[in-house]
């Protein structure tokens, strides 16, 4: 339960961190909040030769408005996002999701860049990246490039980064919607989700002009359900909408059984959460 030996370097700039990571020849690991990495080190499931600690890189910690988006630096901690008035007004679904992200002491350390890079299929921030259609700016030895969230998450705990890439910042386009909801069930409040759904809608004259739906805990990556979004915009909204929506959502996913819940239970749970989420979104005062 103690980490194996490693060297430690704490660069002051992102460029220096990329150099240090590249110099490690694939044996190095980035240390951001450490809330997923340290357990792996303690169990010796990860045995890097060098840890590149990003915590001294001030340029990576910010939340700012940029045009029609909110941009968040990769080292911004969960508690900063949770308590940000800008996030609360511009990205309300993300703001609501934050209290479900682990526990107080973990939110005080964990970072958005770390959570996205860890790519846990039942973590809220990867789901929010899919939900908002976020774009990740990544710095590598050849410079910066931008990756869409849908291309970033490849599989459970697997992202598309090269070994010497570092996530620098994440851009979340603001949704100009008038109804939304976030629902989640976990075994213990703050633990990883058994199932979760985020919904956002923009009302039109008769039905919905726009809809956004993402789910997690029911696949190897978080999923955005674009087919369901389209279906929602084609119907008239009435008292039966939450039930129809629930059916569309559950028929769009094929969860796996694991230690924590059977596939049937996850599907049932997601259906109930979908119903509740749509009821809440439609009840939001626009």
């Amino acid at each position: 339960m103690k980490p194996a030996r490693f060297d430690y370097i704490a660069p002051k700039t992102l460029a220096a961190a990329v150099d240090a990571l590249a110099a490690s020849n694939g044996e190095g690991k980035l240390l951001a909040g450490g809330q997923s990495l340290l357990p792996l080190l303690n169990f010796r499931m990860a045995r890097p030769s060098v840890l590149v600690d990003l915590n001294g890189i001030k340029e990576l910690s910010f939340i700012e408005r940029r045009g029609d988006s909110v941009v968040i630096g990769a080292l911004t901690r969960h508690c900063q996002i949770e308590l940000s008035p800008l996030i609360a007004s511009e990205l309300p679904v993300m703001s609501a999701a934050m209290r479900h992200v682990a526990h107080l002491a973990i939110r005080n350390r964990g970072t958005i860049g770390g959570s996205l890079s860890h790519a846990d299929p039942a973590a809220e921030l990867p789901m929010m990246a899919m939900f908002y259609g976020a774009r990740l700016t990544v710095q590598g030895p050849a410079g910066r490039r931008t990756i869409a969230a849908k291309d970033f998450f490849v599989d459970a705990l697997t992202n598309c980064l090269e070994p010497e890439d570092i996530v620098a910042e994440i851009e979340f386009p603001v949704l100009r919607h008038d109804g939304w909801a976030f629902e989640e069930v976990a075994r213990r409040f703050g633990d990883f989700a058994l199932a979760s759904i985020a919904v956002s809608i923009k009302r039109g004259r008769s039905g919905l002009d726009e809809a956004r739906v993402a789910v997690m805990g029911v696949a190897d990556t978080p999923l955005r359900l674009e087919n369901v979004e389209k279906q929602l915009c084609e119907i008239e909204i009435d008292g039966g909408t939450p039930d129809r929506f629930s059916e569309w959502v559950t028929s769009s996913v094929t969860p796996n059984s694991d230690l924590h819940a059977s596939a049937e239970y996850r599907k049932h749970l997601l259906g109930e959460l979908a119903k509740r989420a749509m009821q809440a979104a439609l009840a939001t005062k626009g």
Binding site: R5, D7, N42, A105, I106, N108, R109, F189
Partner: protein
């Protein structure tokens, strides 16, 4: 590889050389400095027994490296009060019987301190959410919640 760590713990500065990067803050506190009030339970961030304050905010000391707290201020349970002079939160834990075996208590107290200092604590739900990362196998949590509720009420009363 070894490094120097200079850190203020409970207001006292410690300059320690020869620290291996892999040394956890929990082991640094207990084994290097002899501050055994911080308890180690699961050692992978689930139980919360090892919670300490880093620059005023609760962190898991088993998920923090000692070399990462260089230049920081750490508060452990030893920094709250003494057996003769318990601090306000500790007093409420005693009043409300907020502990039985006491193993989780240092972590509960440090999480409670973070909640009292940095969060409004208007409702029991907020207290329970705030404590959700700390496991207690004895009390059923009722008395721990009652102790923090009471400490928050006393603090509000004093602030008036």
């Amino acid at each position: 590889m070894t490094m120097n760590v200079s850190v203020a713990i409970n207001g006292i500065r410690h300059d320690v050389s020869g620290v291996e990067p892999r040394l956890l803050l929990s082991d640094f506190l207990r084994d290097t400095l002899g501050l055994t009030g911080t308890h180690v339970g699961c050692e992978h961030g689930v139980c919360g027994a090892c919670t300490v304050l880093m620059d005023g905010h609760s962190v898991r000391s088993c998920l923090t490296l000692a070399v990462q707290v260089n230049g920081s201020e750490i508060t452990t349970v030893e920094g709250l009060g003494t057996p003769e002079a318990l601090n306000a939160l500790q007093t409420q834990f005693r009043e409300h019987h907020g502990l039985q075996c006491g193993f989780c208590t240092p972590g509960m107290l440090m999480t409670g301190e973070d909640l009292l200092r940095n969060h409004p604590l208007a409702t029991d739900e907020e207290i329970r959410e705030g404590l959700s990362g700390n496991l207690c196998r004895c009390t059923g949590y009722q008395n721990i919640v009652a102790a923090i509720r009471s400490a928050a009420a006393i603090r509000r009363e004093k602030a008036r």
